[in-house]
Amino acid sequence: MLDVSDLHAYYGKSHILHGVNMRVGASEIVSLLGRNGAGRSTTIKAVMGQVDKTGSVRFKGSEIGGLPAYKVARCGLGYVPESREIFPTLTVRQNLLLGQKSTGQKGRWSMEDMFRLFPVLRERAEAPAGVMSGGEQQMLTLCRTLMGDPDLVMIDEPTEGLAPKIVELVARLFDEMKNRGLSILLVEQKLTIALKICQRLYVMGHGQIVFEGTPEALLANEQIRKEWLEV
């Protein structure tokens, strides 16, 4: 479904990614792991068309590497950034509506689904999103992207700084996404939920993929974990 090959990315003159190769299949959940500064966020921003890059990015069989971000999104790629970036002055409902690519876009997810999964969003529907807690904002960001009915969602550190209870809610949403046939590329630092839900994973270090395999294979490989994951 998503095929990234020989991806190099740059912020101005600094060369951050050095030939990343990665793929995510249909209805597959894949994790991208690594330490702070490894280049994980840069990878998904590059796929999204938001940083300067060279190399090839293919999605559903066609090259999307040269497209502006809004066209990439319209191909069916969803992006949930680590900084959340909710629209603080707009209400929760308006935030969700802006997730749709056009008025009344129909897809796998309705506003009602979101409210059912996260009742707190229904309670706060008419409140400005900026006054919500960090955890509530994270749910809103995820739901907002789903409202656009993506086929593959790239999610950047969704559980960072969240209470265990909310992490559980988020994990439940991932299950629901899986049931509805979505693919997920999950960026994480901690192994906990990543290992539980993903089928395959990549470990990244210094802008390159240093390990590829199943969760079991990673658990068995202590050397990789020591060198590239544990702090």
Partner: protein, 315 residues
């Protein structure tokens, strides 16, 4: 009292006109992060276009056509100028708008000359609307106020009640996120820039004949609009609104008042040494100080509250 009421109405109509300019400027700034030095040049173009069009087919068509033309020109400027400059950072953008300011001024010199043009209030609006005590108040000033209020109300409704308005509001905080959700943000930028220019153009159409249409008008109005936006807080529409009305009043009232500090002190019974150098400073009237007053207020604001009245940015 009579003086006060008339001046108050004048400052209101001038303040609303300023807001038609400062609202666009501040919206463009908060969305794209670029301070458009040439914003008032589009105000000037609005006035000149309206003058030219009304020569041929009259004021009413000009009222519609001139702002549209300016808006299209503004959108084209964003699409084929600013967007390219943007790739090279904010300094390049700033220099671009700086160059544009002088370019437009020179083009106006070339086409219409250096002297003011005879752009007049249409005869249909050249009468007295009502009389306050013994002063008759011109209908055109009332028309200006009505036009501004109608435009600004529509702008408000557009921003808060429509989908494109929501996209614009969202782009004020996180343009990259809005784009990642599948919205064509570059086009939204172009529309906002064009819309801001059209609004400035409209201000030129209705202000150019009430005041004067000449090549210096962009620089004169531009600096005041700049002061308004900085004073109100860069990027804040509410701040720009308050500051526009405030500077409308400051400018209107200050030129008409010949009170001075010396006069005030003397009326309080303080004996002043008329031969000292300080006496000359103290006896400067408010009217004499009027040209520096806005800049003085802006500098004071920047010293005591750098983010401006309602601004949130530190810059």
């Amino acid at each position: 009292m009579e003086f006060f009421v008339v001046q108050l109405l004048n400052s209101l109509s001038y303040g609303l006109l300023l807001f038609m300019l400062s609202s666009g400027l501040t919206l463009i700034f908060s969305m794209m992060g670029v301070l458009n030095f040439a914003h008032a040049s589009f105000y000037m173009l609005g006035a000149y276009f309206a003058y030219q069009i009304s020569q041929h087919i009259g004021f009413w068509p000009a009222l519609v056509l001139a702002p549209l033309l300016v808006g299209v020109l503004g959108a084209a400027t964003e699409r084929w100028g600013l967007r390219t400059a943007h790739k090279y950072g904010h300094v390049a953008e700033l220099l671009f708008t700086f160059g544009l300011f002088y370019l437009i001024e020179e083009v106006v010199h070339l086409i219409w000359g250096r002297a003011p043009v005879d752009y007049r209030i249409p005869a249909a609006l050249d009468f007295s609307a009502f009389t306050i005590f013994s002063t008759s108040y011109p209908a055109y000033r009332v028309f200006m106020m009505v036009m501004s209020v109608v435009m600004l109300l529509s702008l408000y409704l557009l921003l808060t009640r429509t989908r494109i308005g929501l996209i614009i509001q969202a782009s004020l905080s996180h343009p990259h996120m809005v784009e990642a959700l599948g919205h064509n943000v570059p086009r939204v930028f172009m529309l906002v820039f064009g819309g801001g220019c059209a609004l400035a153009g409209l201000a030129g159409v209705i202000g150019g004949n009430a005041f004067v249409t000449e090549p210096g008008m962009a620089a004169a109005v531009g600096t005041i609009v700049f002061v308004v936006v900085v004073f109100g807080g860069m990027g804040s529409l509410a701040g720009a609104f308050i500051a526009s009305l405030f500077f409308g009043a400051v400018q209107t009232f200050s030129v008409a008042l010949d009170h001075s500090l010396a006069g005030l002190l003397e009326s309080l019974g303080v004996a002043l040494d008329t031969s000292s150098g300080w006496y000359d400073v103290l006896s400067l009237s408010i009217a004499q100080m009027a040209p520096v007053l806005p800049y003085l207020l802006m500098v004071l604001m920047l010293v005591f509250r750098p983010m401006g009245l309602l601004g949130t940015r530190e810059t």
